[in-house]
Symmetry: C2
Subunit: 458 residues, 2 copies
């Protein structure tokens, strides 16, 4: 620990952030991310783990038709308290694996920032601009905490769950207009509730939705109780018995305050193009590039060797024989097989084809090899490299420096809208008229004096 008080600097930044400090590009990108998040949330409708957490949240609040809560649960069209609505919406927005990701921190900000921020904004009657400022605070804090925790942390912990509590606390804290002192206390409470282990991946268990629900709800709680006077550790991130001391062996405290106010990490956030774990995207794009360039059919291919970073091996390695749609999104072989056969690995492709014989057979022909260049560039850059071994004996190299959706290869507003519409159509979570109305409202959120409900209530 240096004499600098890094947690306090970060907390003060979040507490003091104002719309006037934020470049217009960043505010625009925050809107893009909001619409993208909304689509991902609606995509969660009908998913078993999402419905179970939503049911729990509803059962544990005494809200009913005669007793309406101030915050909206998007997949059920019910209302509840900010705490319980944030829990349900955060569960919903991560399940389709279509929500955004920040490469450097390997952190999914939207699913832990927007649910608590929206729930709080609806309860307070905040303006659209206030929601966006809070969003930026949440992204800047969460991403820096993820970067700070480092790669050793991500080997065992789901950073979206752990750093997510801080991101949620920052966003909600900003809406609650916490003082820097209160924000630091909120960080203390959020960091000491940080949790989320990768162990569930081995069993295709439902925990990923629980992690985001937990981060969003506990982070929101941390901000609310801080406002009321509850104190927390002053150095929860970098202290001797703090988050990094317990859960990281390569933390870098300087990351916590990296160019605060001049570097906007929110703008570095990538949109998901395929409906799978982001670790699969670079190789999928590289394979597609080779297949299109050489006009290959899947049957031409004997084997695909993907050249990857260690994090991909850690997360995807245990998934050798995916038993569920969700687990198959963490199978490099399945993703590449879908891309080889359908040029896309979207929700529909996973749902209909992940266990087809030809997909499983192709999957078995895909391997992962640690590549020094890819690993060295990671996590700042997610380079895609493949060696495609043809049955003819020829070996073709594919390479993509920025996979589709990355900041240098981003989605247009039309593509974001279209993606959200497709996600809603897939899940049936809202009809096209409802989606059009909500998305139109979200594209114009800065004009909203008071955030209302996005969808008609049940």
């Amino acid at each position: 620990m240096t004499t600098q008080h890094l947690s306090r600097e970060l907390a003060s930044f979040a507490a003091n952030l104002k719309a006037a400090d934020i470049p217009d590009d960043v505010m625009n990108r925050a809107e893009d991310l909001l619409v993208d998040w909304f689509g991902s949330t609606i995509a969660g409708k009908g998913s078993r783990p999402v419905e179970l957490i939503t049911q729990f949240a509803q059962n544990m609040g005494g809200f009913d038709a005669a007793h309406a809560g101030p915050s909206e649960i998007l997949v059920s069209r019910k209302t509840s308290s900010p705490f319980l609505a944030a829990m349900a919406n955060a569960a919903a927005s991560h399940v389709a694996e279509q929500d955004d990701v920040h490469n450097g921190s390997v952190f999914h900000p939207a699913t832990v920032v927007f649910p608590p921020a929206l729930a709080c904004a609806q309860a307070l009657g905040s303006s659209g601009e206030e929601l966006l400022v809070a969003t930026v605070a949440g992204y800047e804090v969460g991403i820096r905490v993820g970067e700070f925790l480092g790669r050793s942390h991500y080997k065992v912990f789901h950073t979206t769950g752990t750093a997510g509590t801080l991101a949620a606390a920052a966003a909600v804290g900003r809406l609650l207009k916490l003082s820097p002192e209160q924000m630091l206390n909120a960080f203390g409470s959020a960091g000491t509730q940080s949790a989320g282990l990768w162990e569930f991946l081995r069993d295709a268990a439902d925990s990923k939705q629980l992690h985001t629900a937990h981060a969003a709800s506990t982070g929101l709680m941390s901000a609310y109780i801080a406002q009321a006077g509850f104190t927390g550790a002053q150095h929860i991130l970098e202290g001797k018995q703090g988050l990094a001391a317990g859960m990281s062996s390569d933390s870098d405290p300087s990351k916590l305050v990296d160019r605060l106010g001049s570097r906007w990490a929110l703008e570095e956030t990538s949109f998901k193009y395929y409906a799978s774990c982001r670790h699969t995207h670079p190789a999928a794009d590289a394979l597609l590039q080779v297949m299109l360039a050489s006009k290959l059919a899947p049957s031409d291919i004997a084997k695909v060797e993907t050249l990857v970073h260690q994090g991909a091996i850690d997360v995807l390695g245990p998934v050798t024989d995916p038993a569920t749609v969700h687990q198959s999104k963490f199978s490099m072989g399945t993703v590449l097989a879908l891309v080889a056969h359908y040029q896309f690995a979207g929700l529909q492709e996973f749902d209909k084809h992940f266990h087809d014989d030809e997909i499983c057979a192709f999957r078995e022909r895909v391997t992962m090899t640690l590549d020094p260049e890819v690993d060295g560039a990671y996590p700042q850059r997610w380079i895609g490299k493949v060696k495609v071994h043809l049955k003819s004996g020829q070996v073709l190299d594919g390479r993509v420096d920025e996979p589709k959706g990355d900041p240098g290869n981003t989605l247009s507003r039309a593509e974001i809208t279209d993606k959200a519409m497709r996600l809603a159509a897939f899940s049936g979570g809202a009809n096209p008229a409802e989606m059009n109305k909500a998305i139109d409202l979200l594209w114009n959120i800065r004009k909203q004096a008071k955030i209302g409900f996005l969808l008609p209530s049940n």
Copy 2:
């Protein structure tokens, strides 16, 4: 990991536990612990962090007079859902530092087992016997998880917060009559939400109450969603990306199933005699022994050297100049000063005297030294050893092998009742008539066909 499935063995034990399997002594001790816990909870009334968490829990449920929840919040006499009531009661029962502790695991079981178990039992209308069986399940699981996580874990993590999620899930899971498979899923969800860092101690922050609230509520949630079909990691404790992999460097998987069904860890649990961190008790008893034997006054003493285990230094070491009553309970010097002056360090002594000039002056004359014998015996045995240096130049040795409250030196039912009455009188959380009635009910809990409310509602 061996081929044994340790998490499953532990989960099956908890799911299959029946009253007939449990020796009568253990059931009786569970009643003792229940009454002791009840007193500690009432002692939390009026404590700022407890009131803040309680207020949050109440605000986040839509329960009001016309919309009563099934579960009782003891410090406010309001009702809520099991989830939110467990959160509030768990915050309340740990703040006075008067709740029980299991030495070997350095884990406080009552505060994370009884609040979720009682809240769930009230919601279900469980019998008193069912509540006690669930209690035993919670203690046996939580203590073994704490022992499994080891001393490296406790250096950074508050084991009551981390192992507490599993203890709460086991107790609630038993009440919900989960199958072994469901219980294992509940463990997966509980373990992946395990959290709680010691960093707050350095700042005398409020996090300890948040840790128990968090463990109780997330553990309860884990059991409820498991009943509904939510899955969790099958090896959350011992897996390659599980709890020990992330948060321990000396975990011992054999501890998870140590003599399940024959060793009753609940019986090894100690009652708190002083109102301070248990790490201070052995030395306090040893000092008192020397002072009484030699009829010493505090002014005779030049310095007290306490000979302690490393865990005491880790937890108490950072507290050099306690600023609050709560922090002073983690100050070895303050506790010994109170014992030297008042022969007791109870709630009243801390509240009135922790910052008196003579107490602070005595505090500065107390040191901690790592002692190989004490450290080697810990955590199975908490030996108290002191060297009392008199102003005369004489040095007196004090030694206590089992501090008051330990299983070999336990409290009688009369002492437990008296302690609860004193705690309630101190906080004003219930009047003597209310306490008598509730405690009488609790001593006869096995006759209750259906657990009702313990106190009159507001």
